[in-house]
Symmetry: C2
Subunit: 201 residues, 2 copies
C-alpha cells in the first residue's frame, strides 16, 4: 500500500473516530460537521469527500467490522455453515479488538453516550443500512459455500439477514441491560437458538 492510500485510510479513520467520539460526548445533533473536521485537522469540505453524512462517518467502523465477517466466512469453507458463521462473527466482538486500538474514557459513561446517540433516528437508519450492506456480502459468501444462486435462491439472503438481525438484536440487548454477560456469549447463544429453530424457552 502506497503512502497515498495509507494517508487516505488514516484520515478516514480519524474522521470516523472523531465523529463517533464527539457524538457520544456531546450528542449527535449538537455537533456540526465543522467540529468533526476541525478535530481531525481537515476542512469541512474534505469531510464530505470521505463520508456523505455524519451518520455514515459514525457507522463506518461498525460497517468494517461486519464486512470482516463476510471476509472470514470465505476463508473457512471447510467447516459446517453455522460453525463457520460463529467462528467468523464472534471474534469481531471480542473486547480487545475494538478497545485496544484507542483508549475509551469511561465504560459506563461511554455506554450512556452511545445509548443517547442511538435515540437519533438518522443514526438508527444508518446503522441498519450498514447491516444491509454487509448482508449482501455475507449472502454472497453463503451462496458460494452452499452452492446456491444469489439471484435465484432465497436461502443465502435469508441466512445473511438473520445473522445481521441477530447481531443487531444482541447489541441492542447488551446496551439495554448493562449485564456483565459478554456480547460474544450472547451472540453464540442467539446463533445456537436460530440453528435450533427458535424453540420457545
Amino acid at each position: 500500500m502506497g503512502w497515498r492510500e495509507q494517508k487516505k485510510a488514516e484520515t478516514r479513520a480519524t474522521l470516523s473516530w472523531a465523529a463517533l467520539q464527539l457524538s457520544v460526548e456531546r450528542g449527535f445533533d449538537t455537533i456540526k460537521v465543522e467540529d468533526i473536521a476541525r478535530a481531525s485537522g481537515v476542512s469541512p469540505r474534505t469531510f464530505n469527500n470521505y463520508f456523505s453524512s455524519k451518520g455514515e462517518a459514525i457507522v463506518a467502523r461498525h460497517l468494517d467490522r461486519l464486512l470482516r465477517v463476510a471476509e472470514m466466512l470465505r476463508e473457512r469453507p471447510a467447516e459446517p455453515l453455522w460453525d463457520a458463521i460463529a467462528q467468523s462473527l464472534l471474534p469481531q466482538f471480542e473486547p480487545d479488538t475494538a478497545a485496544a486500538a484507542l483508549p475509551i474514557p469511561d465504560a459506563a459513561q461511554w455506554a450512556a453516550g452511545v445509548r443517547m446517540m442511538l435515540t437519533e433516528p438518522a443514526l438508527q437508519g444508518e446503522l441498519l443500512r450498514a447491516g444491509a450492506v454487509a448482508e449482501a456480502e455475507i449472502a454472497a459468501a453463503v451462496a458460494e459455500r452452499t452452492g446456491t444462486d444469489l439471484n435465484q435462491d432465497l436461502y443465502p439472503h435469508l441466512v445473511a439477514s438473520l445473522v445481521v438481525a441477530a447481531t443487531n438484536t444482541v447489541m441492542a440487548h447488551h446496551l439495554r441491560t448493562n449485564s456483565s454477560v459478554p456480547v460474544e456469549r450472547l451472540l453464540a447463544d442467539a446463533l445456537a437458538r436460530i440453528a435450533a429453530g427458535l424453540p420457545t424457552p
Copy 2:
C-alpha cells in the same frame, strides 16, 4: 373518530401517498417537499408537521402494515407462536390489501420505479428503521404471549427481529426476481425455514 382526527388521518395518508407516487415516478431526489405538498393541497410547512422527512412519509404505509402484524399477534393468543406469526404476517401482503385502495398505473413500471427509489441510501435506512420500530411492538407481543421478560430476555427481541428481517429479505427477493411467486408464499416458506432451523437446502 371525530371529524378532526379523520381529517388528519386523511391528509396524512394523502401526503404519504403523494410522496410515494411522486418518488416512484420521478425519483426520490428529484422531487422536492414543495412538490409533495402542492400535490396534496397543503403548504410545504404542513408537510413537516406530519412527517419529519421525505423518507418518513414514503415509508409510512409500510410501517403501518408492519404495526398491524403486532396488533394481530396480540389478538390471537391461542395458537402456537409460529402459526400465529404466519397468520398475522401473511395477510398484510395479500395483493388486494394494498392494491385495492388506490389505482396503480402499471405493475412493471411501478416495480421499476420502486427499485430505483430503493437505491437511495436515505430510503433504505428509513425502511429499515420502520422495521425496527415495528420490531419493538412485535417483541412486546411475543413477550406477552410467551411469558418472557422484554427487559431481561433476548428471546422476544430475537424472534421479532428475525420476523422483520425475513420480511425485508423476502420483499427484496421479490423485487430482485420478477418471479410470479406471490410474496405470501415466499414469506410462508421463509418462516417455515426459520422454524426448522434453516437446514441447508
